[in-house]
């Protein structure tokens, strides 16, 4: 608990660096009493390091107080669309932190790491089954790195086919997550944006028009970021392949379809998954995650290194695919996250995963009907994992922006939804309840949003000033960017 002083202490103004006193210490370090070796002065640090000097209790209090200024899934409903914020089972953390796993050295002889390696092998098998794409590398550290891997695999395949030179374009829907075009660009491609049709699916005519021998790949998010099924994608896949291009699945939204349909069966060549979303590993305030990349036989030789394989001797080992695009990390990926994802997979099994996708979709549709009429719904059809409303009516009629609605929701006890994404929806409010929210929580969230829609009519001012009940009020983001203060400085110069 943190009790705020009545004078509303400016907690953020005092960093750890500004606390404590010179000479305080939070731990002691053993002193070497053996023979001394001199280190030449030239190599020694010249400035004296400025780090906080606090006793252990002070430091614990500081970070405990900081934690109390944060909202996690355990704090309440967190319907952040596109992010699949589901309950993170604690058992997964316990499992991954067992010393046998946690203390394993990445350079350990592989015979001495069979516990980890076999677990990774089985995770690989599970992901292959779930995606219908038989080959998997667990190396990518997050979704975006998985995307990079996938696109580089396409690059390599085209190179081997001798078609890389002409194929310099990747088609990306206008509803795609920013990482998709950014990844395409990082891999050296130009991006052609494909518009979304009336019904929220891709504009197939437009794809057909664009598909030519300059196209390397089409990146599609399935289900898409509107929470909708990408209708006819299995037919588009055929066209894409006919045109000599590859079809990439951004699988960040797998949660909606786990156990119900598979990227491989739909004709995708390669897909990445977001284990920190669909597989419940905690998001940690921005990672670590894991973004395995799964692919067809054709692309298998290009998978990033390492992949996990079982030898004839029954030993599991890391291997480099024949024509691998190479490594993505110094070692083997975010193994600690992969262990958690495996525990999740095994806790659920196929029936459980199908129950996950079923309930996730049911919950999103429940939210859709509860809010229907209170906010505009640009694509008014049954959704999958999430539903994207628009605050444009509120903006137009009451001058209340989606930004205000989001902030006001904090006062009602909820984490706000994703806002202003996808870009094609004006004043977008993207809500993803996930399967771990109980119906009562979804109802309470809907009630809060309905109450806010009424407040927007009645009392726009309360919206513009929101949030009122959070540890800190609405922050000046413009000035933060205009005059960036990005690190602690000695107090004299710390003023912003």
């Amino acid at each position: 608990m943190t009790v705020l002083r009545p004078d509303s202490e400016d907690f953020g103004a005092r960093l750890s660096f500004d606390r404590g006193e010179p000479g305080r210490r939070a731990v002691d370090v053993p002193v070497w009493r053996g023979e001394q070796t001199l280190l030449p002065d030239a190599h020694l640090r010249r400035d004296s390091l400025r780090l906080p000097e606090m006793s252990q209790g002070e430091l614990v209090r500081y970070y405990t107080a900081l934690s109390a200024r944060n909202y996690g899934i355990d704090s309440g409903t967190y319907p952040l669309g596109s992010c699949t914020m589901k309950y993170n089972p604690k058992i997964n953390d316990l499992i991954a932190s067992q010393p046998g796993f946690a203390d394993a050295h990445p350079n350990a002889p592989q015979a001495e790491a069979q516990g980890t390696l076999r677990t990774l092998l089985e995770l690989r098998h599970g992901l292959a089954e779930l995606t219908g794409l038989p080959h998997v590398s667990l190396a990518p550290a997050a979704g975006a790195q998985g995307e990079l891997a996938g696109v580089l695999m396409i690059t390599a395949a085209l190179e081997d086919r001798g078609e890389l030179a002409p194929r310099r374009r990747i088609l990306v829907p206008d509803s795609a997550h920013g990482t998709n075009p950014a990844t395409a660009a990082m891999a050296g491609f130009t991006v052609t944006q494909i518009p979304t049709a009336e019904d929220g699916s891709l504009d197939h005519a437009m794809i057909e028009r664009e598909l030519d021998e300059t196209v390397a790949a089409v990146m599609v998010t399935v289900p898409n970021t509107l929470g909708l099924w990408e209708r006819g994608i299995e037919e588009v896949a055929v066209q894409i392949h006919d045109a000599g291009a590859y079809l990439y699945a951004d699988g960040a939204n797998l949660n909606a379809i786990m156990g119900r349909v598979r990227y491989g069966d739909l004709g995708f060549d390669v897909a990445h998954l977001n284990l920190h979303k669909s597989f419940s590993t905690p998001h940690g305030g921005g990672g670590p995650g894991a973004g395995p990349v799964c692919c067809s036989d054709e692309l298998a030789p290009y998978l990033p290194t390492p992949i996990v394989v079982e030898g004839d001797d029954g030993l599991v080992r890391f291997a480099a695919p024949e024509r691998s695009i190479g490594r993505l990390q110094q070692f083997h990926g975010n193994v600690g996250v992969l262990l958690r994802a495996y525990a999740y997979l095994r806790a659920l099994g196929l029936d459980g995963l199908r129950a996950v996708s079923g309930q996730a979709v049911l919950n999103a549709n429940y939210l859709r009907v509860l809010l229907h009429g209170h906010y505009d719904l640009p694509y008014d059809r049954p959704v999958l994992h999430e539903v994207v409303f628009s605050g444009s009516r509120q903006r137009r009629e009451h001058g209340v922006r989606t930004y205000d609605i989001a902030k006001r929701l904090i006062d009602h006890g909820f984490h706000p939804p994703t806002v202003y994404f996808p870009l094609i929806v004006e004043e977008a409010l993207m809500l993803e309840p996930t399967e771990t929210e109980p119906p009562e929580a979804i109802e309470a969230l809907a009630q809060a949003l309905i109450a806010i829609a009424e407040e927007a009519e009645r009392d726009p001012d309360i919206m513009h000033g929101a949030p009122w009940s959070s540890p800190i009020g609405r922050l000046d983001e413009t000035n933060a960017a205009r005059r960036p203060v990005l690190r602690w400085q000695e107090p004299a110069s710390a003023d912003v």
Binding site: A13, Q56, N334, A355, N365, E477
Partner: protein
């Protein structure tokens, strides 16, 4: 003789609250007959394929299975002298206590600053610590790992210098080299691995150098910075942040960008990950930097009448990032390694300025003492490569492979076999790491084992 329970009329699973009754009520409100109806858009012929997954396990079964798996790895208490990029560290106990608070661990990237000050303020602390350690002006909140951070540094260097070749000075971690090559390939950037600083040229966007280098030696950065700058190339230093408790700050020696790995001090080696890549640079590169950056700001308005707006933190300079800039972003990175960055920050601050230096000093002394004891043993030699920090080469009376095996038989994990490397000192050698966290008893056991092996050889 047990199996998991089959689902009943209640919730399908402990992680899914809605019961059959809940579902019925919701379906009625939605106006569809069953959950399957909500999937009507999916192509019928491809729906509900056969999928082969092992049966679900209850929590006790899961603990049993994965407890056995953890036990199938090497005993964590076994003496090991592996390093080469991952080191056993004394991590303060308060670190895991604090990072396991669910307000930190179960939060998303802090898109709503008003209820994410915990993540944001600690991100600002992280940036400050990284700047202090590296001697740089600005830092981001962390990238995936040291290798991908270094790759991003190379891409940044290529962008700002408009040159399409980067140079990596050997010896550098081979994993880093490979990752730079992976990233460079997409960007159409060439990678030169240099054996000597003399090979830097005007073609190079940057010179990348590891501190301490891959074989453990402390590098004198200043001449390298001068050499790079003489060709208008940037100096990128890949530094061990723990060693920087003792060693000269790369910024002080002329580096333009510093990357590093924060994993080991943050917690455990975890078979190599999760990691956290440090990324710090001179302020002129700020707007070209990859990754999230936290900035300090104030409330727009004070909540109290006449009060001062209070200080808070936000993600800033987002115009660099993928979700705004899309294909013109400085990087595609989105989710990074925030929780490991938090752990790294708390660990560094727990040690504090004196503790960090003392700890690095202890590491240095303990490693040198071990090396000295080995060097004194007949049949063993420590090839000289100048001043070093925590890793040293060992040549024994038998081949590296044999030495590894013979130590393994004695319950000891040898240093990494680097005998295939081009450096002459590495020939026939293993790379041993001894740190502040290596128990004296492990060193003693090693010495004893080596004596036996020496006597037998």
């Amino acid at each position: 003789m047990t199996s998991s329970r089959s689902s009943s009329a209640g919730s399908p699973h402990p992680y899914i609250p809605a019961t059959a009754a809940d579902r019925a009520r919701m379906l009625e409100r939605i106006g569809v007959a069953d959950v399957d109806a909500l999937f009507a858009d999916l192509p019928a012929t491809l729906r509900d394929p056969e999928i082969d997954l092992p049966p679900a396990l209850t929590e006790p079964e899961l603990i049993a299975l994965l407890g056995a798996r953890a036990a199938a790895n090497a005993d964590p208490l076994r003496p090991s002298f592996l390093g080469a990029g991952a080191y056993r560290r004394s991590v303060p106990a308060i670190v895991s206590h604090l990072t396991s608070r669910s307000e930190f661990s179960t939060a998303y990237t802090p898109y709503q600053p008003e209820i994410s000050q915990g993540t944001l303020q600690s991100g600002f602390e992280f940036q400050s610590v990284v700047c202090e350690l590296t001697g740089m002006d600005v830092a981001n909140t962390g990238l995936y790992d040291v290798a991908s951070a270094t790759a991003e540094a190379c891409l940044l260097a290529a962008r700002v210098t408009k040159r399409q070749t980067v140079a990596l000075l050997e010896p550098i971690h081979p994993g880093t080299v490979e990752v730079v090559r992976t990233y460079a390939r997409g960007a159409g950037v060439r990678v030169d691995q240099l054996a000597s600083i003399d090979d830097v040229s005007d073609a190079h966007a940057c010179l990348v150098v590891q501190q301490p280098d891959y074989l453990g030696a402390i590098v004198d950065l200043e001449p390298l910075a001068d050499a790079a700058h003489a060709h208008d190339a940037l100096l990128v230093t890949v530094a061990d942040p723990f060693a920087l408790g003792l060693l000269r700050a790369p910024g002080d020696a002329g580096a333009d960008i510093v990357t590093g790995e924060g994993r080991d001090l943050a917690g455990a080696p975890a078979f190599g990950g999760p990691s956290v890549g440090l990324f710090a640079a001179r302020s002129r590169f700020l707007r070209q930097m990859p990754g999230r950056i936290v900035g300090r700001t104030r409330e727009l308005h004070s909540r109290e009448e006449g009060g001062q707006p209070r200080t808070g933190y936000v993600l800033t300079l987002q115009a660099r990032e993928q979700f705004i800039r899309r294909e013109r972003a400085t990087s595609n990175v989105s989710t990074a390694q925030a929780l490991i960055a938090l752990a790294f920050t708390i660990a560094m601050q727990t040690l504090g300025p004196h503790g960090l230096r003392e700890s690095a000093e202890l590491c240095y002394q303990r490693a040198h003492d071990a090396a000295r004891r080995i060097a004194r043993m007949p049949g063993f030699a420590i090839p000289e490569r100048g001043p070093w920090f925590q890793e040293f080469l060992v040549r024994g009376p038998v081949s590296p492979a044999q030495l590894t095996d013979q130590l393994a038989t004695r319950g000891i994990t040898a240093g990494l076999d680097v005998s295939a490397r081009p450096e002459p000192e590495a020939a026939n050698a293993l790379l041993f790491a001894v740190t502040e966290a290596t128990p004296d008893a492990h060193v003693d056991a090693l010495i004893e084992a080596l004596a036996e092996i020496g006597a037998e050889a």
